[in-house]
C-alpha cells in the first residue's frame, strides 16, 4: 500500500465510533434490501433482465447517444459533450456566464463531484449550494461524500447537531432529527427562490424519447430542475438506455437495491424546457455528457461491464472493507467495490491500482449487484492489468504495479514448482527447519500467531493413510 492510502486506512481502522456507526448503518441497509426482495427467483430474474437492458444499451452505445441527442434537440434540450472534467467544467461555466448566473442550487450528482464542479465555480465567484440534505451537511462541514447514495452516512446525529449549531448560531441547538431537517428546509427554500440556475445529475437517459430521469426522495431535485430559469444536467455517457420500457425494471432494481424502498418519493422525467403557455419549469435546459475515461473502459470487452453500473450503492453496503473503513479512506470520488473497479480505470493503475488489491474477494458485491457486474472478477482482472508486461491492454497504467521483488519471488516459485526433485527438497527442508521461522512477521503477527509449518509434508501424511498419487 502507498503511504497515503495506508495512513488513511490505519486512521479509519482506529476510529471505533465510526466503525460501530457504519456497522449499524450497513446492517440496517442489508436488512431493508432483503425485505423488499422476498422472492429469490423473482430477484434473480429481475437481475438478469437488468443486466440485459444495460448490456443491450452498451452494445449500441454510440448509436443510442446520437439518437438521444437528436431527440433532445427536437425537445429543445441543448446537448454538450466533454472529454475531460476540465472541459465539462468550462462548458457549465460558459452557460452560467452567458445567463449571468450568480447563485445556483444543486441536486445530488456524483458526476459533478467527479468534476470538482463546486470548487471550480466558486473560484469563479458563483455560489453553489448543495440542496440534498446529506450533501448540504457535508458541504457545511467542508467534506466530500462518503457514500454515493447517502453522502453524509459517516456523520452521527450529534455531529450534525453540533455542525448546525456552529454554522447557524442564531438557531437554538437541537439534536432532534425533525428539527434539524426543518432548519435545513427553511434555509434551502429561500435559496431555491433566489437561485438563477439549478444543476442536477441524471439517473437514466432514454434514447427513444430524449428524456432525462431523476430519482430522489426529498424534492430538492425537482426544486432545482423546476424553480430556477436555467437547468443544467451533468452525467456520464454510459447512462443511456434504448427504450422507455427499459426504465421501469431498472428503476425498481435501483431503489430496492439502494435503500430497500419499493420506489423513491419522486421519479422525475424531464423532456424539455417550459413550453409556451406553461407557467413554470426552466426556460433553458442543457445536458453535459462527460466521457472522462469511460470510452476507454468501453474498449475492453470484459471491463466494459463496469459501465453497466446504475450507482445503487448495494455493493458498497455489503462490502466488509467499506464497512470497516468508511468512504473517505479510499480517497476517491466513488468508494467501495464500484470505486475499486471504476477509479483505477478512470485515473490509471499506477495511481489507484492498489484499490483493486484492497479486497478480500469475498464476492458479496457481485452477488448483490442488480445488473450483475462481476466485480470480484474485474478486481482480479485489474490486478493482472497492473502487472502484465505484454503492453496490449487498454487500461491506463498497465504493468505499472509490477514490483521487482514480487515478480522475482513468483519466478522463483514457478521454477521450483516445475522441478519435482527440487520441490521435494525445498518442502522437506522447510519442515525440518520449521522452528527457525521467526515468530514476529510484521503487522501480521500484531494480532495473530505466526503460522506453523507441519512436521511432515502433506504428501507424506497422505501416503501414510494409504493414498497414492492417483
Amino acid at each position: 500500500m502507498s503511504g497515503e492510502f495506508h495512513d488513511s486506512v490505519v486512521k479509519a481502522l482506529g476510529d471505533d465510533a465510526l466503525r460501530q456507526h457504519l456497522r449499524r448503518a450497513m446492517d440496517s441497509l442489508i436488512e431493508k434490501r432483503l425485505a423488499v426482495f422476498p422472492d429469490q427467483d423473482a430477484l434473480q430474474a429481475l437481475r438478469r433482465y437488468g443486466m440485459a437492458i444495460r448490456g443491450n444499451a452498451l452494445s449500441k452505445l454510440p448509436q443510442l447517444l446520437e439518437r438521444f441527442e437528436a431527440r433532445c434537440e427536437e425537445n429543445g434540450v441543448h446537448v454538450h459533450w466533454a472529454e475531460t472534467t476540465d472541459e465539462a467544467n468550462k462548458i457549465v461555466f460558459e452557460i452560467l456566464q452567458s445567463n449571468d448566473v450568480k447563485r445556483l442550487v444543486k441536486g445530488k450528482s456524483m458526476v459533478s463531484e467527479e468534476m470538482g464542479l463546486n470548487h471550480f465555480l466558486e473560484d469563479k465567484g458563483i455560489e453553489c449550494l448543495e440542496s440534498d440534505l446529506g450533501e448540504f451537511i457535508i458541504q457545511l462541514a467542508g467534506e466530500t461524500p462518503s457514500h454515493i447514495v447517502m453522502p453524509a452516512l459517516h456523520k452521527s446525529k450529534q455531529e450534525i447537531a453540533e455542525l448546525f449549531h456552529e454554522k447557524f448560531p442564531d438557531i437554538p441547538y437541537s439534536d432532534d432529527v425533525d428539527e434539524l431537517t426543518a432548519v435545513a428546509r427553511g434555509i434551502l427554500r429561500e435559496k431555491f427562490m433566489q437561485a438563477d440556475a439549478g444543476i442536477s445529475g441524471v439517473n437514466f437517459l432514454i434514447a427513444e424519447t430524449g428524456t432525462l430521469c431523476l430519482v430522489e426522495n426529498e424534492g430538492n431535485g425537482r426544486m432545482s430542475t423546476t424553480v430556477p430559469r436555467l437547468h443544467i444536467a451533468v452525467t456520464g455517457i454510459e447512462k443511456v438506455v434504448e427504450k422507455l420500457a427499459d426504465v421501469p425494471p431498472l428503476l425498481s432494481l435501483l431503489t430496492r437495491s439502494a435503500t430497500g424502498q419499493p420506489i423513491t418519493t419522486y421519479f422525475n422525467m424531464i423532456k424539455g424546457p417550459r413550453q409556451p403557455g406553461e407557467k413554470d419549469g426552466p426556460q433553458e435546459v442543457h445536458l453535459v455528457l462527460l466521457d472522462n475515461g469511460r470510452s476507454r473502459i468501453f474498449a475492453d470487452e470484459e471491463l466494459q461491464a463496469t459501465l453497466r453500473c446504475i450507482r445503487c450503492g448495494a455493493c458498497i453496503n455489503h462490502c466488509p472493507i467499506y464497512t470497516r473503513l468508511g468512504g473517505h479512506a479510499y480517497g476517491t470520488v466513488y468508494p467501495g467495490p464500484i470505486g475499486s473497479i471504476l477509479e483505477p480505470q478512470k485515473e490509471g493503475l499506477e495511481r489507484l491500482g492498489e484499490l483493486a488489491e484492497a479486497s478480500t474477494l469475498c464476492g458479496a458485491c457481485g452477488e448483490v449487484c442488480p445488473v450483475r457486474i462481476p466485480i470480484p472478477k474485474l478486481l482480479n482482472r485489474l490486478r493482472w492489468e497492473g502487472v502484465r508486461q505484454d503492453g496490449t491492454g487498454e487500461t491506463s497504467g498497465q504493468g505499472r504495479r509490477r514490483k521487482h521483488s514480487e515478480s522475482l519471488a513468483w519466478k522463483g516459485w514457478s521454477s521450483l514448482a516445475s522441478r519435482p526433485v527440487l520441490y521435494r527438497i525445498a518442502v522437506k527442508s522447510a519442515c525440518r527447519f520449521r522452528r527457525l521461522l521467526p515468530q514476529q512477521l510484521g503487522p501480521w503477527t500484531h494480532v495473530r500467531k505466526a503460522p506453523e509449518i507441519a512436521e511432515k509434508p502433506l504428501r507424506e501424511l497422505v501416503e501414510v493413510q494409504g493414498f497414492t498419487d492417483e
Binding site: A52, G55, N56, S59, K60, L61, E66, H80, W81, E83, D132, L133, G134, I137, M150, P151, A152, L153, K155, K157, I160, V177, D178, L180, T181, R185, R189, F192, M193, T211, E218, G219, N220, R222, T226, V227, R229, L244, A245, D246, V247, P248, T259, P262, I263, T265, Y266, F267, N268, M269, K271, R274, E278, K279, G281, D291, S295, R296, F298, A299
Partner: protein, 215 residues
C-alpha cells in the same frame, strides 16, 4: 466542443461488438382486480405516511374541506379551468378556506407561492398499485410546482385508473407516443434519511400527501 463529440463517438465506434438483439422486453403486470389494486395502493401509500381516503363523486369536495380544516390550512392553490377546479369554485365559498388559482407565471409571484400557500389540489393521470405511486403529467393548467411547493398536496384519483405496475401504465397509456415536458411519479410526502438514517418527512417538498380515491 463538436470536436469532443466527434472524438468520443469515434472512440466508441472503433469497438465493434455484436448488437444486443437478444434483449427480450416484457411488460410486467399483475392480474389484480380493481379492489385489490386500490388496497395495495393504499397500503403502500400509508407505509410512507401518505393519507388515503375513499370518497365519492358527490362528497369529495366536502371531505376535502374537512381534511384541510383538520390540518389548519387557510388556503388552497388550484387549477380553475380543470373540471375539478370548477366544482371547487361552486362549493368552497362557505368553507372559510380561500381558493387561490395558479394562473400566473412562477416568476411573478415566487415569494408568495413559497411563503403563503398552505395546500394545493391536483388531478392525476392514474396511479400504480405495486409501489403506491401517483402519475402526474403537469400541464398549462396544473403547473409542475402545484405538487411541490405547498406543504399539503391533495390529489384526486379515480379508482379505475390504478394500474398494477409502472410498466403496465407506460404500456397501456402509450407514453412513448408523447410525453409532456415533465412527467412525475409521486410516492408519498417528501422525505429523507440523510441524518443518521432516521426518517424525516417534509424535507423540501410537501409534508403531507392526501389522496382522495373516487370510485
Amino acid at each position: 466542443m463538436n470536436e469532443s463529440r466527434q472524438k468520443i463517438l469515434d472512440r466508441l465506434r472503433t469497438v465493434s461488438r455484436e448488437e444486443g438483439g437478444w434483449l427480450q422486453r416484457r411488460v410486467d403486470k399483475r392480474a389484480w382486480s380493481e379492489e385489490e389494486k386500490v388496497q395495495r395502493f393504499a397500503e403502500c401509500m400509508s407505509a410512507v405516511r401518505a393519507e388515503v381516503y375513499r370518497t365519492s363523486e358527490v362528497s369529495w369536495v366536502k371531505d376535502l374541506q374537512r381534511i384541510l380544516k383538520s390540518k389548519g390550512a387557510h388556503n388552497l392553490l388550484y387549477a380553475p379551468v380543470k373540471p375539478h377546479g370548477k366544482l371547487l369554485l361552486e362549493d368552497f365559498s362557505s368553507s372559510g378556506i380561500e381558493l387561490l388559482p395558479y394562473d400566473l407565471e412562477v416568476e411573478r409571484w415566487k415569494r408568495r407561492l413559497f411563503e403563503e400557500m398552505d395546500a394545493s389540489i391536483t388531478g392525476c393521470r392514474g396511479a400504480i398499485a405495486e409501489t403506491g405511486s401517483l402519475i402526474l403529467w403537469p400541464d398549462e393548467e396544473e403547473p409542475r410546482l402545484l405538487s411541490l411547493i405547498p406543504p399539503i398536496h391533495c390529489v384526486l384519483l379515480p379508482a379505475e385508473q390504478i394500474y398494477s405496475t409502472f410498466s403496465e401504465a407506460v404500456d397501456i397509456q402509450g407514453w412513448v407516443e408523447g410525453m409532456p415536458t415533465n412527467a412525475l411519479l409521486i410516492s408519498g410526502p417528501s422525505k429523507s434519511a440523510d441524518i443518521a438514517q432516521v426518517l424525516a418527512y417534509g424535507v423540501h417538498g410537501p409534508k403531507s400527501l392526501v389522496v382522495l380515491i373516487i370510485p
